[in-house]
């Protein structure tokens, strides 16, 4: 609602305010040497539009973590604040949001983004300022391991980390599940040509073919569309036993519904982007039997997440924590843990930034979603994934497995 216009207005105001803040704000903290200092954790996520259910879950989970840190005085002498910016799930808007956060000298870290395509634009803005970024949801492998992640992985930005696993794991996991567990040998793939969907389908296809399966049709859709009849008709004659979709629920829900209405009665499977209650609302009754993989184990079944869930519900947020709440909460806590180290004897936020990056790489604690720690690329060390299936109008856990262990 308001956030959208704030971003727009903000974009034009930044230019004007930059000149003013440079001289204006320094005099402010000149007087209060003993008072608590403020460090901000930014959030960049879609707070309006199709994906806002996921974005608001991220925002509120970070707010919860920050509130708890402030209440327990986790970092003596410092008070944390959340500064949430809407990226509307669009790369250019996300870049504007990142620019606005990076020009704020109190910002020490950012949780976000939701979309890999937005992260590609946000990373280069935050990196030169040494602002750490932890994404709870970016699953595109190239974000951490560079464009040639398959042949020559190379860390793209030292400031970028993530608490979720990647498509490099998710696609193959889905492929193995379909081939080995569900006994499906012929699939059709559809993706939305965004970085996320394309990555997912790419790694899925590779693994599925390697396993001995057949990809009988590969199609794409336009995310702006809402009618997919033509694509469905193009896929149908090849008689796939399942459709693997790379994309998110606003398209996947209607796609599932229209697929079945058109007589293509096979399960649709997707990645974490379709693992959302809204998928079932949009997909209707016929979405029963559709599948999704998601990173980690289901938050509501985890022993370690019980406290998070009860705290979240007690805090009275208007929106549910959604698919990435647990990961966002862990991401915020990872930053807070790093800040305990880096802000300890820092005089201001800007000088503490490089130290925060360093400290974050070494963070290791038991989070809501399991152990939170990062490898040399900034990826999480956890490789646990779960397959969910729609049953009775809800996502039910089908199988949780650690891919690394097989």
């Amino acid at each position: 609602m308001q956030q959208r216009s704030v971003v727009r207005v903000g974009a034009s105001l930044i230019v004007a305010s930059l000149a003013l803040t440079a001289c204006g704000s320094r005099s402010e903290d000149g007087g209060g040497g003993t008072a608590t200092k403020t460090a901000k954790i930014g959030v960049i996520a879609p707070l309006s539009g199709d994906l806002s259910a996921l974005g608001l879950g991220i925002q509120h989970s970070v707010e919860l973590a920050v509130k708890q840190a402030n209440d327990s005085n986790a970092i003596p002498g410092w008070k944390l604040e959340v500064d949430a910016k809407d990226d509307e799930a669009k790369p250019d808007v996300g870049k504007t949001a990142a620019t606005s956060l990076s020009s704020d000298k109190d910002v020490i870290g950012v949780v976000g983004t939701l979309n890999s395509s937005v992260a590609l634009q946000v990373q280069p803005v935050l990196a030169p300022k040494n602002i750490v970024q932890i994404s709870p949801a970016n699953t595109n492998p190239s974000l951490t391991q560079g464009a040639n992640w398959q042949s020559a992985p190379k860390r793209a930005y030292p400031t970028y980390f993530r608490t979720c696993t990647t498509d490099a794991v998710q696609g193959p996991f889905a492929a193995r599940y379909l081939f080995e567990k569900a006994g499906i040998k012929k699939v059709a793939t559809i993706h939305d040509k965004k970085a996320y969907g394309q990555g997912l389908v790419g790694t899925f296809t590779e693994e599925f073919k390697a396993a001995g399966g057949q990809v009988v049709a590969a199609e794409t859709i336009n995310p702006e569309d809402s009618n997919y009849q033509a694509v469905i008709s193009a896929v149908k004659p090849s008689a796939p036993q399942a459709v693997y979709y790379g994309g998110e629920y606003p398209q996947a829900g209607p796609l599932s519904q229209q697929m079945k209405a058109a007589g293509l009665n096979v399960p649709l499977m997707g990645g974490d982007g379709i693992y959302d209650p809204k998928f079932i609302t949009l997909g209707g009754k016929t979405s029963t039997g559709d599948l999704a993989t998601s990173v980690g184990a289901p938050v509501d079944t985890l022993e370690s997440a019980k406290k998070f869930i009860s705290d979240y519900n007690a805090a009275g947020f208007k929106d549910p924590y959604a698919a990435y709440g647990g990961y966002s909460y862990d991401a915020a806590n990872a930053i807070i843990n790093a800040l305990k180290e880096s802000l300890k004897d820092a005089s201001d936020v800007e000088s503490a930034r490089p130290k925060t990056v360093e400290a974050l790489g070494k963070v290791s604690f038991e989070g809501v979603t399991g152990k939170v720690a990062f490898d040399q690329y900034g990826d999480t060390t956890s490789k646990v994934l779960t397959v969910y299936k729609v049953a009775g109008g809800k996502w039910a856990t089908e199988l949780t497995q650690d891919l690394a262990k097989k």
């Binding site: 309006s48 008709s233 209405a261």
Partner: protein, 315 residues
């Protein structure tokens, strides 16, 4: 060849939807030479009107008898929007330079989209869902559910509704324009507004009727799209409006038969392009490119549109 008839059906369904909206562009253009770019939003508000009617009075029910009432709800919402729009935004600019109403139309379009996006869930006395995300559209017995199979071709029930709606609307529209006094008044105004006024035709009233007429068809299209895609959102009018405008130009702007024909052609081209253009430039993401390539070709070789524009340019 196996998928030809399937894609033809898909194309005609999609095209019927475009045609219903395109008539609104063309009727208004025929009378006042204004491209009403906010017409897509009239279509969107029609869909929301139908949804609101359903949520207010029939929430949870699935009887097909609700459909006519939803259509009435949609028509009321659309017509009120279109008439208010004409009165507030276009009438004061009737004699202004042409660019002014065009820019106003774009402004109205953005205004209406944001209005629905921000305020739909805040309407008092009603418990509407937030329009910031796609909202599921009610699925009714008879017009949704199991598809009809004719040989190899699968026809969705909502598609039958859409095509039938276009046929009924086209017949009623033809009757209205050619056989009623008001309709013939519209013809007269489109040929020569000044002479029509001298003959005792109330031109302001005719213009309002033109807007309302377009709105009625857009409302029906809104319900069709809701049933077909089973979801609606605040920005559904933008793409649909753009496509319908293309259809109107394709068929010859100002020409009602042209708008219907143009809509059908556009829909079929999109479907066929998805199926038959191979390789990198094929598939769902490129269908719009081929649709607009067709538009450019038509404009280059036949600028008056496929069936010819019917309007004497006053400029």
């Amino acid at each position: 060849m196996d998928q030809f008839f399937q894609q033809l059906v898909n194309g005609l369904t999609l095209g019927s939807l475009y045609a219903l909206i395109a008539v609104g562009y063309t009727v208004v253009y025929g009378i006042v030479q204004l491209i009403n770019f906010a017409h897509g939003e009239v279509f969107m508000i029609g869909a929301f009107g139908a949804l609101s009617t359903y949520l207010l009075f029939f929430d949870g029910q699935t009887g097909v008898w609700i459909l006519p009432i939803m259509i009435v709800g949609a028509i009321i919402a659309s017509v009120v929007t279109a008439v208010a729009m004409e009165r507030v935004a276009y009438r004061p600019l009737r004699n202004a330079p042409r660019l002014a109403p065009l820019i106003t139309a774009i402004g109205i379009s953005v205004f209406l989209q944001e209005l629905v996006r921000v305020f739909y869930d805040r309407i008092p006395f009603a418990d509407f869902p937030s329009a910031k995300q796609r909202i599921p559209f009610p699925q009714l017995d008879g017009v949704s559910g199991k598809a009809v199979e004719v040989g190899d071709v699968t026809i969705q029930r909502s598609a039958i509704f859409t095509v039938a709606a276009l046929v009924v609307c086209a017949i009623l529209l033809w009757y209205f324009i050619n056989r009623t006094k008001l309709g013939r008044g519209m013809l007269a105004v489109s040929q020569d507004p000044d002479t029509a006024r001298l003959m005792g035709i109330n031109v302001d009233r005719i213009i309002v009727v033109a807007f309302a007429l377009g709105a009625v068809l857009a409302a029906v299209a809104g319900v069709s799209q809701g049933l077909q895609n089973n979801n609606i959102d605040f920005k559904m009018g933008f793409i649909a409006g753009l496509k319908a405008f293309t259809a109107a130009v394709l068929g010859g702007i100002g020409n009602i038969q042209g708008a219907v024909f143009g809509g059908l052609v556009l829909g079929v081209v999109e479907s066929m392009a998805t199926q038959y253009v191979p390789g990198q430039f094929g598939g769902g993401t490129w269908k719009d490119v081929w649709a607009f390539v067709l538009l450019i070709l038509v404009l280059v070789f036949r600028p008056q549109g496929l069936l010819g524009a019917r309007v004497v340019d006053r400029a």
